[in-house]
Symmetry: C2
Subunit: 346 residues, 2 copies
Amino acid sequence: MMRESSSKVLLETDRILLAHGSGGELSHELVASLFVKVFTNSFLDPLDDMAVLRLGENRLAFTTDSYVVTPVFFPGGDIGRLAVCGTVNDLAMGGALPLFLSAGFIIEEGFPFASLEKIVISMQKTAVEAGVKIVTGDTKVVNRGGADQIFINTAGIGLIPGGVSISGSLARPRDRILLSGSIGDHGVAILSSREGLQFSTTLESDCAPLNGLVASMLEVSPQIHCLRDPTRGGLSSTLNELARQSGVGIWVEEQRIPIKEEVRGACELLGLDPLILANEGKLVAVVAPEAAAKILQRMQAHPLGKDAAIIGEVQEEPGGKVVLRTSIGSTRLMDMIVGEPLPRIC
Amino acid sequence: MMRESSSKVLLETDRILLAHGSGGELSHELVASLFVKVFTNSFLDPLDDMAVLRLGENRLAFTTDSYVVTPVFFPGGDIGRLAVCGTVNDLAMGGALPLFLSAGFIIEEGFPFASLEKIVISMQKTAVEAGVKIVTGDTKVVNRGGADQIFINTAGIGLIPGGVSISGSLARPRDRILLSGSIGDHGVAILSSREGLQFSTTLESDCAPLNGLVASMLEVSPQIHCLRDPTRGGLSSTLNELARQSGVGIWVEEQRIPIKEEVRGACELLGLDPLILANEGKLVAVVAPEAAAKILQRMQAHPLGKDAAIIGEVQEEPGGKVVLRTSIGSTRLMDMIVGEPLPRIC
């Protein structure tokens, strides 16, 4: 009851809050109460990371994301690499083969040309790594103080192969929940590089294109029901989204979730929950129970899935909720975040 | 000589200038020296407003633009209407039927929810007007001062009908240059609503989706060689782009260019050239001489082309240049702008 009323208070604000961009509860409320309500159409309504468009014989996937991460360069990546990976991954999470990206730059007057060049080269390097082409773009420059350094939007087009049907709404009781590796690396890498928050870590962002991993998983089994990358809002938001879209209960074993020591340490230091930290090179897969072992094995054979684990399973109850079984054997609901603990993480 | 050296000085700056986003000379240099060089591929290289992608039997058009206009609401439109029209028009300028749009919002913390709602409703209204669907989106919120109110990126997908082949590189000697209506309306409407620049005008932005006008032109003749909407950088930049891409000379009769009295007056008051003012609901068409009359007639029968005029023709010389024959009979080169007289016009 408490939570419901506090969320209600936040919603009734007449101004946009940082939390509306958090990927958590308020983001979902904004999408549901404004965007879906106004733009309503059959493509947008499924609320997956991408829209599926039929064009003749083809099923196209189409998605977009803007990137506002700060700092622009961070351990393991930069805003350019993130802008390519994020959109490639949204396409891959629908089982699509990513093909083409657009790139829209909003740059603050005075931004160093050398930094822009470094970012653009990083985008191209990442595009080659992911096998996609950046085919169209746009650049706007705003006055000093009109934007914070540089923002990049990428939109992406992919092709969904015949026979592939992956959506957040397809989780079924008894399905297994697979996670491709350790969580929180991106969030901690960004935090470690922020002014005033410097703490010592050798940790790098996990930022990587996941389409190769997905293709290799689909090779061993078509029985992949949901795929999602736990970015903003972390593993917690992703599992809650899947539970809600599919109307199922998701049960997760805390001790099976891979978390690096550096991430655990940083979270203790900063009072953060690794379950809500952003990841940029990890995926959650919900798969048929009979296919789980061979999909896991294939994931572990891929460089981006070597620490993959089965972290839980789908049950009928509690519908729309995520239950965490802690290492000491108790259970608690794993909530979606309401506020915004980490603005501009991506 | 003077101009060449001043442009060189600007290029050699190590920081991004407002002029890099002007749609003029420096924008083109940035695109050529960085984006095309690094992202180089056969889709990007033609430098049209959109990329043409082959997918099976279909030719898809794909484009993107970010919108940073200030103020967000202006006479005749708002950033939402602009974000839909701009991308729909880029698709239409390749002869494509616009089908699907993405929408990426970057919002400053504290932006009024009611304003966002008004913008989103305006986007949907404009999407319905243009016959397109907004199918996927993203919202990022940045801290107060991290962005100026709201920026919107839209990317668009369209289908190019068989037999249509329109590109900035296809202008041929003897082709006629058609302009769909009066220039400078958008630029003056934006300026009139800026703080500190208030002057009295009843003028509204011409912001409108042009795909209906293009479809009706293509109905009467397939002999449309180039189409382009003179947005940032105005008529002057657009004609220079076409002259360069096609390697032809473009000759324009100044007195045939429709300009409203209010625009002429405002330009005199502010010391601006209407030829460089942005338009958001106008197009330039380069068409075969034998088709010019019937295409013009069809344009004039459409509400968005009622003031259409033939304003000039293509010649072999001077290659890559635009020549303006003034009303007193003299001729001068119509240059592309180098600096940025009007930042954040779209």
